[in-house]
């Protein structure tokens, strides 16, 4: 069993509170990602779970028992650091067996465990080398190997791939996913890259300024963001946002006035809204269709050709910018005049404080 629970966990540095009362239950065996912009507190949260950072308030429970006063080594967790933090003066084998040496394991036991892990990670030829002789990817493997040797209840990973080049990152992502399946151990993964979180995690915790914005599966976060922040953070390219004003509310639908005179009818009877209320409309690039008669008019500023599809970056009459997805073989050019139609059932609505207003209906992308 390896559940980790956070109950009303708070963290203060001096007089400055950086984590404001977080509740979280991490299930056994799951791969959960903490994701968010720099400074949101994700690393601090991880370090509090690890025991490298003191908890100012609240409780950290590992397997049901309070752990906030337990020293890091006794929590049964292992950490993979962003900068690997390998011991430069020890060989790879010594790095990996250091924890066993400290706990008094016999030489035979140490060797056996190190070899077993080295085999899984395919790094047997590296065992006698020193960190200074290894490449970035190899260093990463050693750091993971060091954690694995401890056979922890859960792996804590603090942006482990951010120091690798793009190609290596992609490769290591798959490796980590494979490792997770093979070991079936809880993994708590911190990253600022929403793509990493989306591709690897069972569940994602989106953090912003010390608060949990939303907790859910990748698809949930993508299709049903609970807040304006999550909508803008998850998914690339970033969701388009338009300022809108409520024109009228009927029993079946909502009419919104957009800047520049366009209007959109959303098939959602949100009775709580009044005429004149200001809300924000969110729509993803794949739900903006190019239509000559469309309401949103503007000019193409740039195009990104990605092969199977292309992204049109346009500027509307009122200055707002949009990104729309279209076919890869589009003939559009920068400078062209363009118009869009919004797939109104695929829109996300957010009130002034950023909360999402009910869920949009079932969605299928346009192309």
């Amino acid at each position: 069993m390896a559940t980790v629970e956070l109950r009303n966990v708070r963290k203060q540095f001096g007089n400055h509170e950086v984590i404001h009362g977080i509740d979280l239950l991490i299930q056994d065996h799951e791969f959960i990602a903490f994701v968010g912009p720099s400074g949101c507190g994700k690393s601090t949260l991880l370090r509090m779970i690890a025991g490298l950072e003191q908890v100012t308030g609240g409780e950290v429970l590992i397997d049901g028992s309070p752990a906030q006063d337990v020293p890091p080594a006794k929590r049964g967790l292992a950490m993979v650091f962003q900068s690997y933090a390998l011991y430069p003066h020890m060989t790879v084998a010594e790095n990996m067996s250091f924890s066993l040496r400290l706990s008094g394991a016999s030489k035979a036991e140490r060797e056996q465990k190190v070899r077993a892990v080295a085999r899984i990670l395919e790094m047997e030829p590296l065992l006698e080398r020193k960190p200074s002789q290894l490449s970035g990817g190899q260093l990463q493997r050693v750091a993971i190997g060091r954690a694995m040797v401890r056979q922890p209840k859960a792996f804590l990973m603090d942006e482990p791939l951010s120091n690798l080049d793009a190609a290596l990152q992609g490769q290591m992502r798959l490796e980590l996913a494979r490792l997770h399946r093979e070991l079936n151990t809880t993994m708590i993964y911190v990253t600022h890259d929403q793509l990493e979180a989306m591709t690897m995690a069972d569940r994602i915790v989106v953090l912003n300024e010390g608060n949990v914005e939303q907790l859910g599966s990748p698809l949930e976060l993508y299709q049903h963001p609970a807040t304006f922040f999550v909508a803008g953070f998850i998914g690339a390219p970033k969701m388009n946002f338009l300022d809108a004003e409520v024109k009228s509310v009927s029993e079946q639908s909502l009419t919104l006035a957009l800047a520049g005179g366009a209007s959109v009818v959303v098939p959602r009877p949100l009775q709580e809204l009044k005429g004149g209320e200001k809300i924000r409309l969110g729509v993803r690039a794949e739900y903006l269709a190019l239509e000559p008669e469309g309401d949103l008019r503007g000019e193409i500023e740039a195009l990104e050709h990605l092969g199977p599809r292309a992204y049109i970056h346009a500027r509307l009459a009122d200055g707002a910018r949009l990104v729309a997805q279209t076919d890869g073989d589009t003939q559009a050019r920068p400078g062209d005049r363009v118009a869009f139609r919004v797939r109104s059932e695929a829109t996300h609505l957010f009130n002034a404080s950023g909360k999402a207003l009910t869920r949009p209906g079932p969605q299928t992308p346009l192309s």
Binding site: L52, F81, L86, S99
Partner: protein, 273 residues
């Protein structure tokens, strides 16, 4: 191409001349130590002579010279060990648990070095006299270790800071107690830096003259006191004086040459990479 070659050689000659010029006094003393006393005071000074080892024999046979040398060794090593014992924990604490006051404490420690020794000559002399520490090796060790402590802390601090804190955190995750962290990770990583610091401390204590001259007379006198006592020599002893002086400075010169790069790294505090 030829112009560059010429300037290259011109430069080499110029620098060699300067280097030899700077080293010359030491070289001259070294040569004199192999002359006979008569040859040593010959006018005009002899460049070519019959070398002899008689001076070295004479000096090493003197029981008091060996006593002075022994005192120098004891004081240098003793002060260095005491300073390291105090400084390693202090530098560790300041490097890895810095507070807002850390910078101020470091600067304050440095400022204690600015206190001119001569300003407290009188009280220290009287204190040492009353405590029975005058003319003792231990008394000299106490004073030398305090004198050298700020520099030792400063250098150790700058070397410790070069170790990324994540590595110590990793060792903590691996189960290390604070002592194990220090022994298995920090000290092995910083061994070159600690060695350089220790060597600098030995050099400073070995060459220390003010307190040796004022707090010792016969039993605990060091080589600095010994050489200073020849400030009004009679010409007849020059060759032996050269031999004694060469013996006094040789070990330190070699230590200094060996450790100079590492010492500079610590002293410059990151101003020099």
């Amino acid at each position: 191409m030829r112009r560059i070659r010429q300037t290259r050689w011109g430069l080499a000659v110029a620098v060699w001349a300067i280097a030899l010029g700077m080293f010359f006094p030491i070289l001259w003393m070294f040569l004199c130590s192999f002359k006979t006393e008569i040859a040593a005071v010959a006018v005009p000074p002899k460049l070519f002579f019959r070398p002899t080892l008689e001076n070295y024999y004479a000096v090493l046979q003197r029981a008091d010279y060996l006593a002075f040398a022994r005192n120098s060794v004891l004081v240098s090593l003793g002060s260095t060990l005491l300073a390291l014992a105090l400084a390693i924990p202090a530098a560790y604490s300041m490097a890895f648990f810095p507070t807002r006051r850390t910078r101020d404490i470091l600067l304050w420690m440095l400022s204690t070095k600015m206190l001119p020794a001569v300003g407290v000559l009188v009280p220290i002399y009287l204190l040492w006299r009353d405590l029975g520490l005058l003319d003792t090796v231990f008394g000299l060790i106490l004073i030398d270790s305090i004198s050298v402590l700020p520099i030792v802390v400063w250098m150790l601090f700058s070397f410790f800071r070069e170790v990324p804190a994540v590595i110590l955190e990793a060792s903590r995750m691996d189960g290390a107690t604070q002592t194990e962290e220090l022994l298995h990770v920090l000290l092995p990583l910083c061994t070159p830096g600690i060695a350089a610091t220790a060597l600098l401390s030995i050099i400073l204590c070995w060459n220390e003259a003010f307190w040796s001259l004022n707090l010792t007379t016969v039993k605990a006198a060091t080589l600095t006191t010994f050489t200073a006592s020849f400030s009004s020599p009679e010409g007849l002893f020059w060759a032996k004086l050269s031999a004694a002086s060469t013996l006094s400075i040789a070990p330190i010169l070699i230590f200094g040459w060996m450790s100079q790069r590492q010492m500079v790294r610590g002293l410059s505090f990151g101003a020099v990479k």
